[in-house]
Symmetry: C2
Subunit: 356 residues, 2 copies
């Protein structure tokens, strides 16, 4: 029992944790969170767990497979700290996860975020979570839970880490990849820029080697360096889901059109394309078949980075690759919806990824 | 295109990211991950997303609700760094999530972890993930995915953050809390110690104020300070799930026995008990009805922390509370399985949590 000597007594707040600020942060994000809800969401913010009804999916999918992904934003966050701009990294956290889920042929259903901060600033949390909510709305997935952890002495004041978790669903026999083989075409979808990979290299080149600042206006990029680097990762579900088979018995005519989806994430072309290929198959990517955005050329020039390294680290302007036996049909379908796509190569006998 | 001047060229590895170390880390954790698999797991480590078949649950649950939780370990990690011991924090990450899922009446199904490290050391990653896998096995949930992010300049070498994400399932009409009201009893289940909350205060008191070290042997705790503080968070699923209703049509006789489950997590008794109470109900907790572990007495004495603060930050020896209309039956059921439990109070008309 406490002896009550006020001088020496210490509270959780003295130790740097402000539970009331946490409660205020929850109030600040309530509306953003609700804006993402789908009919399947049960209850409201504040329970021990997030609730999502599987009843509709239970009817839609005969043999449902839950597909889950988790990812963070990496050291792109350091650029957000430098630019003091926090409304985009939440979109990145969502995109990195939902694009992984999509790569397995699944429809994203719901998302949770983990946010660890050095010092809980409710308005900064609101800014970050507004990005998460925007990413969820754009991907059609509900933001049903999250954790905001105040960890003093762990992150510098004003700094934080964020990770996301997404669950989607696919019919078992529509899981991707399926049936990929030599002769299939690679159709590339444009990225929105760097997405959320390679930022340790990016920061070394722009800030350490070239001595640039986030506020520098870069004519080649038609923007400040900070804005160009913080361009949010593109969310592909709305573009790609219509090309995939839906639930049991749906869109049977599309079965086989898209056989694999590659999320060009950490490891770039070199590591990610093989994840969608069966043993004995490799890929040939034809350089020059799509426009490489200026930001990549600038990185390569300033850092004198060899080509193979560029393609092993960055998306080089292609954030997602569809593997299909009918590239024309896929590209036409996308064009009819106003989406650009490029025939960038093909699956070949062999191993690895040839680029020429 | 690169000019090839080797001197100035910079690689991802130069920037502090070692993709090959990442691949080695995946090899190191493969067996631990597989040890957690349940029959529903589809495929193997290495895909873009983790796959879990919902076919069995589709049959077992008429109106299935997916229940998800995410949490981290907080600044308990700092103690792990000080003690250079990394095989327990993974258990904490699992426990913090599965205990939240359990609090909604759900059976944990699968888990994913997010691990962000300053410098990727495959053996350290193996140690951490072996803890995650142990926690998953003990909770009966499959470890189906994870992300290990190398973030140089973000975390100090040897330091890291970890977050977890768990998905469970419950029949809609068995979700908790349900039907809690005045007169119901609170049955407390012992914690294993501090669990993973309040560590900013704990560290301030032991290390800053008392000047102690993790290697100090503390007679009152019969262990070193480090071992006492790092005692993993208790995993409650195996103990509590048998008391809950299972799928549709199962264990009908148990329906109503346990009406609510409180995970005594961040915010302690004060914030968590009300999360399971309907409007107009409060709780009375009778102090002295369970043994408060020595570690809490030591914290209170060294920090001269007032009682209300202790109960608003720590679990004080009770890590989970079952709300029931038949405390004797619940306590006897637990006793028959060798589990201790204490009648610690009751639900009353009013608001908040009285402690006397």
């Amino acid at each position: 029992m406490s002896s009550g000597s006020e001088k020496r007594s210490v509270s959780y707040r003295d130790a740097g944790v402000d539970v009331d600020a946490g409660n205020r942060a929850v109030e600040e994000i309530r509306e953003a969170v609700r804006s993402t809800y789908r009919p399947e969401v049960v209850g409201d913010i504040g329970g021990f767990g997030g609730l999502f009804s599987f009843a509709a999916a239970r009817e839609k999918y005969r043999d449902p497979i839950l597909v889950s992904g988790t990812d963070g934003v990496g050291t792109k966050l350091k650029v957000a700290f430098m630019a003091n701009r926090h409304d985009t990294v939440g979109i990145d956290a969502v995109a990195m996860c939902v694009n992984d889920v999509l790569a397995q042929g699944a429809e994203p259903l719901f998302f949770l975020d983990y946010l660890a901060v050095g010092k809980l600033a409710p308005l900064q949390v609101k800014e970050i979570v507004s990005g998460v909510a925007a990413g969820c709305r754009e991907s059609g997935c509900a933001l049903i839970g999250g954790e905001t952890a105040e960890m003093p002495g762990f992150y510098a004041p004003g700094e934080y880490d964020i990770a996301g978790f997404c669950v989607g669903v696919a019919e078992r026999d529509a899981l991707l990849p399926r049936g990929v083989g030599p002769g299939d075409a690679l159709v590339g979808l444009p990225s929105s820029g760097l997405h959320s990979n390679g930022f340790s290299l990016v920061r070394k080149i722009f800030f350490d080697m070239a001595g640039m600042k986030v506020s520098d206006f870069v004519p080649a990029l038609s923007s400040t360096l900070g804005d160009a680097l913080l361009e949010p990762t593109r969310l592909y579900p709305r573009v790609v889901l219509p090309l995939l088979q839906g639930g049991h018995g749906q869109a049977k005519d599309r079965l086989g059109r898209v056989k694999g989806v590659v999320h060009v994430t950490g490891g770039g072309f070199r590591d990610n394309i093989p994840r969608a290929l069966p043993p004995g198959s490799g890929a040939r990517v034809r350089l020059g078949t799509w426009p490489v955005p200026e930001v990549f050329r600038l990185i390569q020039r300033l850092g004198d980075v060899p080509d193979p390294e560029m393609y092993a680290v960055f998306n080089m302007g292609i954030g997602m690759i569809l593997i299909t036996d009918d590239a024309d049909a896929v590209i036409n379908d996308l064009a009819s919806r106003g989406e650009r796509a490029f025939a960038i190569g093909e699956v070949i006998r062999g191993t690895g990824v040839e680029m020429n």
